[in-house]
Symmetry: C2
Subunit: 343 residues, 2 copies
């Protein structure tokens, strides 16, 4: 892999390839991008030269000249939540052969971090932005509006979006779960969730859940919140705590499957009769649940599908075409599992 140019440490440019193959830079550029007419002979010559030199195109220069960037910014709160990697996988799959590529930014559920990440992303002039949630700082919202590229807000449809929106209604999801629980005859219901004030979706589920209970003349009897740590362990601890405080609860609704799984394990170990004496339910439908001793009731949050649809919208917009934003609401499916009694 010898280097012809004078300074062996200078990074390679189109010119190096052009000199090595005896054609103009423009022709090399055409070959490398498969664009325009190039004779088979020179095409082979150029590719050969590029390969032996080990040339890697400089997309920075390319993007500046063409005003085109094949990146899609994806902004999510966390990677350790398991839900978001699944959304990502849906996005990647859909983007696979569109020439577009996702770039991920993580906010840790902090609005200021989200704003910073968004700013950073937009400074690379991506072809589109996919961002979790509908709640943003004022500045972030302004940036999204003025970005001049398609924006898709995902996960949640309960609120006003900037452009397109793909998600589920967490409020209705909570309400549906409440209805199912009431229908199954449970009456003294506890709620266990995260303490994070910025987890708007969990909050909306809780609100919808409360409303659903209210319609049946019920209310949440007790709540327990946590933050940080191993979710499975927290689920155990919280379950123990809430049941110690309130032994006559007959249902526990967890804001996610992980703490729900922890609660389930704890209940089984401590001899609770699930689902007769005590019902349990989580949220998300993570496939981890399949390996549990009993299948926890949950609701599938359509994570992969949300990713797919969002990517589809970005990929479908013909280069900045500002068509009106669409709102796609998916229907989460209730899975009763083995922890809600059936009759």
């Amino acid at each position: 892999m010898a280097r012809f140019p004078a300074d062996p440490r200078r990074p390679l440019t189109l010119r190096d390839v052009s000199e090595a193959s005896g054609v103009s830079e423009m022709t090399v550029s055409r070959v490398l991008r498969n664009r325009g007419d190039v004779s088979e002979a020179t095409r082979v010559k150029v590719l050969e030269a590029a390969r032996t030199l080990g040339y890697v195109p400089n997309k920075i220069a390319g993007a500046l000249a063409s005003q085109r960037v094949n990146l899609v910014g994806v902004i999510i709160p966390s990677l350790s939540n398991l839900v978001f990697p699944e959304v990502l996988s849906g996005i990647s799959a859909e983007l696979e052969d569109t020439g577009l590529q996702p770039v991920v930014g993580v906010t840790n559920y902090r609005p200021d971090k989200e704003e910073a990440v968004l700013y950073e992303m937009l400074s690379w002039r991506p072809s589109g932005v996919i961002i979790a949630g509908l709640e943003h700082t004022e500045a972030a919202r302004a940036m999204l509006e003025n970005a001049g590229v398609p924006v898709v807000e995902i996960m949640d449809v309960d609120g006003e979006g900037v452009d397109s929106v793909v998600g589920i209604s967490h409020r209705r999801a909570g309400r549906h779960m409440a209805e199912a629980i009431v229908a199954a005859g449970y009456r003294k219901i506890g709620f266990l969730g995260t303490k994070m004030p910025e987890d708007h979706r969990a909050r909306k589920r809780f609100e919808g859940f409360s409303e659903g209970l209210a319609e049946a003349g019920l209310a949440v009897s007790d709540t327990e919140f946590y933050s940080g740590g191993s979710a499975l362990l927290k689920g155990r601890e919280m379950t123990q705590a809430i049941l110690a405080r309130n032994p006559d609860l007959d249902f526990l609704y967890y804001s996610n499957d992980m703490i729900g799984a922890g609660g389930l394990l704890w209940c089984l170990e401590n001899g609770y009769d699930v689902p007769e004496r005590l019902g349990l339910a989580g949220f998300n439908g993570v496939d981890l649940l399949e390996g549990l001793p009993r299948r926890l009731a949950t609701m599938d949050a359509c994570r992969r599908e949300i990713g797919r649809k969002a990517a589809e919208i970005i990929a479908g917009r013909p280069h900045g075409g500002m068509i009106g934003g669409e709102v796609i609401e998916l229907e989460p499916v209730l899975q009763l599992g083995d922890t809600i009694r059936r009759r």
Copy 2:
């Protein structure tokens, strides 16, 4: 948020800000990058103008002009493995206030995908590359060597690196586990793992494990492999299968904690005396294990620490300074938990 320029849809540039604030583009650039001396008065003026216009700098142009890119490419096999998000979190934490920013690429354990992702990343001329594993295609290796930026290969030290290497020896990890198991008096040992031929680290653990047993005059009595699906569930199924085939096994070594956890749950449900009659161990030390009925024996793979150290190396290299690569080997810690008997 009014727009002064003629065409209201034209993206903003430095010139717009410069005209709005009455100074040269260069001065605006200086203000926005906090570089060079600018009087407080003009600084305020410029920031004000930039803010009201909603200007977002164009890093593409900036990078081209300055030959500097604040991105670090991070290439990992998967996001659903839980291990890699943790590595990522270590990287992000360390990069937090260096001005550098990680950009993630996922290979799905496919060498050809890895090569493609690497090519794509290098075409953006990042300041460094962090890549999982030591095994790459020939072309990928050549790209890494000629990239002209620091490269850190992570997770594994059993092999030859391109530049710097941060990880643990999976071979020795397997061997240590074997020694601990033998020392605890187990003799008929089964191994359960992934089928993936490209999971070199799991393979190396298995090899080291076999060597460790061999030194005590033992061998792996039976093996069971899987691919895809819910790891927890697979752990159950494999455990059932291997024990049905080979009821006198007295120890099961799992290649990761998830299938180990599934196995543990299955064993407990089916009345196995763990750890007396049957010992179990996994690998990784994921904190999910804390919520299990019993603490699975495992070895911490130092995931966060690996991320930190790798990022530290990238951040510490003064802009392309090609100092010789360092090799940092971390020591995984054996945690006996409750599933290896102690005497």
